[in-house]
């Protein structure tokens, strides 16, 4: 029996996002109670709350860390139509000699007319750059010309997608080698129909110096709740994980010598319906080889590819109860169901057991 470690997050309301910093040593959480909390991990592996402040005047949807090269910087976005940049500064030391650190607001981005649904920093090679998307479908790119001055974030580009957008993700690139243009994928959670495409790819055109929508992925027509590109790690293709009515993984392969049009082929590498309901979030590991997804069924599922085929390698139930075992007989090696189920999370207060 395995136990998952537990942290009492001390938020008064629903936690909307959890984000780790570049080194994985710090964690930020944000919630409907309008607070952002920052946690640090000590040598024993325990997470301790080091900062908590009221960041916005509405629910805070997302929080994200910048590359440590720019300092300890996070960005948040909220229902109150703003996105904010925060930096941790060293304060005065108290009597014990320990340094007090606190977070200050460096900039407020108020261009949106509706709730800002996602904010993400771009790859470090572009400098200090940030993209936001809002409920009225406008994606905005902000760039800080001077990394030392975090107060200046001029709005550089705006792309209007005309459908309510819920999430965005940058394609992480290490060098401009394989990907000549910067790329962002934006997802829409528009409920009004299930026919129009809900995933859009926007690229930066070096020649015209503008961002524009270059492709719509028609195979994804259900509302999209989360998307994330996998870390490339030297592979010859890009993987985009999408959380919609099921888990989908798209593979983007660069077309060699493409002269016009979208220079990538997009194919659906995998599609998993195992959650049997809406999938909310997806996250990749550091090598971009294993994907974790969370769904309305209260499970976290993990997916891994082995030589071009994808399969589920683990299901984590958040409450400690094992789901129904699917197949106990070991089948032939060709169809090896390596799905393992683990019970996690001993309930410490049985009187408050959560029922299903």
């Amino acid at each position: 029996m395995v136990e998952a470690h537990s942290i009492n997050a001390e938020h008064k309301d629903l936690i909307h996002d959890v984000a780790f910093d570049y080194y994985g040593e710090r964690m930020a959480t944000c919630s409907t109670d309008q607070f952002v909390k920052v946690w640090d991990q000590d040598e024993q592996g325990n997470w301790n709350l080091t900062a908590s402040w009221k960041a916005h005047s509405g629910s805070v949807w997302k929080v994200t860390w910048a590359h440590p090269e720019f300092g300890q910087v996070i960005a948040t976005c909220s229902f109150d139509r703003t996105a904010a940049i925060w930096e941790e500064i060293m304060g005065e030391s108290n009597e014990n000699g320990t340094l007090l650190r606190h977070w200050v607001r460096r900039a407020n981005l108020v261009d949106s007319r509706t709730s800002v649904t996602d904010v993400k920093f771009g790859p470090k090679s572009f400098g200090l750059i940030l993209a936001t998307c809002s409920a009225d479908g406008v994606m905005r790119i902000y760039e800080a010309p001077d990394a030392m001055n975090l107060a200046q974030w001029p709005l550089q580009h705006e792309v209007s997608l005309k459908v309510p957008s819920s999430c965005l993700t940058w394609n992480p690139l290490l060098s401009t080698f394989r990907m000549p243009n910067a790329m962002i994928a934006v997802g829409s959670d528009d409920n009004s129909n299930t026919t129009n495409s809900k995933v859009f790819i926007c690229e930066y055109n070096e020649v015209s110096r503008r961002w524009a929508k270059t492709e719509s992925v028609n195979s994804v027509a259900h509302p999209v709740h989360d998307m994330i590109f996998a870390p490339n790690m030297g592979r010859s293709f890009y993987l985009l994980a999408i959380a919609t009515n099921n888990v989908r993984i798209l593979k983007l392969k660069p077309i060699v010598d493409a002269t016009s049009g979208f220079p990538y082929t997009i194919e659906t590498a995998a599609q998993f319906n195992d959650h049997f309901c809406t999938v909310w979030r997806v996250a990749w590991n550091i090598t971009g080889t294993v994907l974790a997804s969370s769904g309305d069924d209260g499970c976290v599922r993990l997916w891994k590819s082995t030589v071009d085929t994808w399969k589920c390698v683990g299901v984590l139930k958040r409450d400690g109860k094992l789901p129904q075992p699917q197949s106990k007989k070991t089948q032939s090696t060709a169809q090896n169901n390596l799905t393992r189920f683990f019970k996690l999370g001993q309930i410490t207060h049985p009187s408050e057991v959560h029922w299903h």
Binding site: F79, D80, S294, G295, F342, E352, H354
Partner: protein, 867 residues
Amino acid sequence: MFVSRGDVPKLEVQWSPVHKNKFITWGPDIRMYEVINTATSEGSKSSDIPKGLVLSSNTSANLLATSTNHRYVKCIDIYPKPESEIMLAIGHANGKVTFCTFGLATVNNTLAGLELGPNSRFSRQCNAISWNPVNYNLLACGLDRHRSDQCVQVWDVEKSPLINAELSPGKPFFDYGTGETAHSLAWFNSSPHVLAVSCNGKTIRCIDIRDASKSTNVTQTRAVYGINIAVYNNNHIVSYCDNSIVLWDSRHLEKPVVTLTQSKSVSKVQWCPTRHNLLGSLQKDTMAISLHDMQQSMDEAEPSALERTVHPGQGNIHLASFSWHPTHENRLLAISQTGVLNDYFVFERMTLNWSTKSSIAWTYGQHNLKYISDKDLVYSSFEDISTTIKMRAFSQYGIKDFAENAKLVDDPIIKNVWNWLDLNRKVTRAGIVPTTPNVPFPGIKTVLGLDSGSPMPKSELKHVQWVDIQGTVKTYRSSARDNALFLCDWGFDRTNALHISALLRKLENENSHTRAASIAIFNLRMRDAIETLNKGANQQPNLSMIAMALSGYSPDKYSMWRELCSRTREKLTDPYLRAAFAFLTSETESHDAVLNEVGIPLEDRIAFASIFLSDVKLTEYINTITDKLLDQGNLTAIFLTGSSPDVVPLLQRYLDSTGDIQTVSILVLKTIPSEIVHENAVMMSWINSYREMLNQWRMWHIRAKFDIALKAVKPPPQNVFLTCNYCGKNICPAADEKEKDNEKETKVLRIKDQSENGSNNFKFTSCPNCQSPLPRCALCLAHLGTASAKVPLRKTSGKQLTSNSSYVLTGQSVNSFSYWFSWCPTCNHGGHSNHISDWFKNHLECPVADCVCRCYSLDSTSRYCSV
């Protein structure tokens, strides 16, 4: 509190506000249930079938009591006093209120049988009933209109005497609203004397029962049904009518906060008591409950709702009603129109994320986060290659030599690759196999001349006799083939019996008798093969049978031996034996059966091919197998491609399928010359990805060693210089390349003159160009260019130090690093590096007087140490 609308018998369900596991349903009769947890623990027997109604996969309900005495029930509310048994207040169609305790002997027996309500002359329908949540003795009833009676009556059940319904009823504690209709009512928790009432189909009023004339809080609206006040925040009120749900703020009741229009007519709304701002609503004839998550920002005038629908149960029966659990997070009970109950847990969206340190964290309920990391046992079942990479990196994989690398990996393919590279290097260093500067590790294809696309140089055909039996076999020889054999570790002299015997003995010691036997056969020594097999028969008895079969070998193509052996060969399990027999029974010259025997390692098959296949066939075989392995992304193909440019697509394919950026980067680093690597963008992108990964894990020392190995050829040019403040010239004479040599000479001589004792140490305290003094260390006040003195260390006794006590000189020796000066770029102060770092162990601010720069704290990453 529940109401029955019209004459349609309605089903209702409600959780008890005080008992966590009891609820009632009410329709044709009133039933009380108790919920039990039926979750099976490990090892439970299947005979534990839960009895009673199944509510969900891990709960079921047992019927505790039924009450059928009550007729024309219109509304019910449960007594909210904690620590009491379930008691219901029931409103009837004639306006009377009765109490039901399901026949349980309770403290409140006094109420059983009590009947409250208006005089029977004024009998009319009771629309709503509600216990006061704080003052448990007060019960409010909302009644239909009667021209001379009040529509709202609040009874105090402790003070009313026991009376008989026929005689004059007691007076209510409070009444209000003569000649009006009350549709629904609700108490405020925080102000328990205030009651919200909707009247006459067009108003909602908040009435203070201490003084009815004080009801100033009034609004006009048509949404008069189902008033519900949120438990956590009494300012939130909701009511509905037809297709609209209307939200109110009790502080500004004159105007609704927002109106939500639904597609069908609404039948129930209730705030979720465990979560802020979550409203559940049910529409007529639907199978789903709608959840409205009210979002409001301070600046916004109007909140908006995030809508979601949930389908309790199978989602194919129309729902009649639902009820939120008062304390369990997000739990609700839904009842369908056919009476089927469902215990449903509304999962909030779980957010999750994965850190670069291999921790997966997700939200659990409203307040908790759960996480697992690669330190937990379960993580290893995910077979995440990043943990493997990390472990290998810690053991210095890649920085060490080939043979060491082989020991660090578990994957046999990669192990083989490293071992082969080791062999390759031995063979090329000994000069046996030629190499070119671009391809320091030639593969089989390179050696055979196949990679250039041109056909291989011709080999000579020789018919070789079997050593100990009759018969000849066609073999081919050429210098290129010989080189290939060396690379396959078959570099022994095949004509020399001693070499072969030595090899066979070696293999026998490793218990690879079958391999030894097959090698002997491929070298045309039958007797040796039989001997080896017989020796191996000690462990595997059937080997002596094989030996017996071998001894009957006849070279005749049409003999019975050949026919039988080729048929029974299929039944052999050992790949070497199969190959040996395939060789002996092969019909054609192409020896396909041997070559396709994948159980034999590639080296042996290639070696075999190099001896026995003709030029054309050999070329064809090598090309086919290279393509096949390349397609699979099998790294074994490195035998064939070596470190020629052909290896790049192979590595890319391997990387695409496994994600093992580490092995790929290290192979590139170790096998391909640096100049080629630096020019090739693909390879540099691999190497940079790997370095980035090491950086993220804070394995900076290991990454630095990797960098050293990478740039072993050419150090980067110096790009930071120190210039003198006064003359602006570079103070390091040796570094300036543009200077003429004779000028450099004079400077060096001058410096040597300055140094004391004629020692060879470069001790210069002033600029060589303008002789102005160089800056001093902020702590020891010695000039830049002097070695730092040994730093005194205090004894850690914790006592007060006396003057002649406790300073102990450390044993630091003077080395080149002690000359190293370091500066803070913000305040431009600095000094000897070890002095500065010791200072900042105990202080925050710069050591220079009046400078308040927090030099050491400015860079947050400096808080972390390399792992």
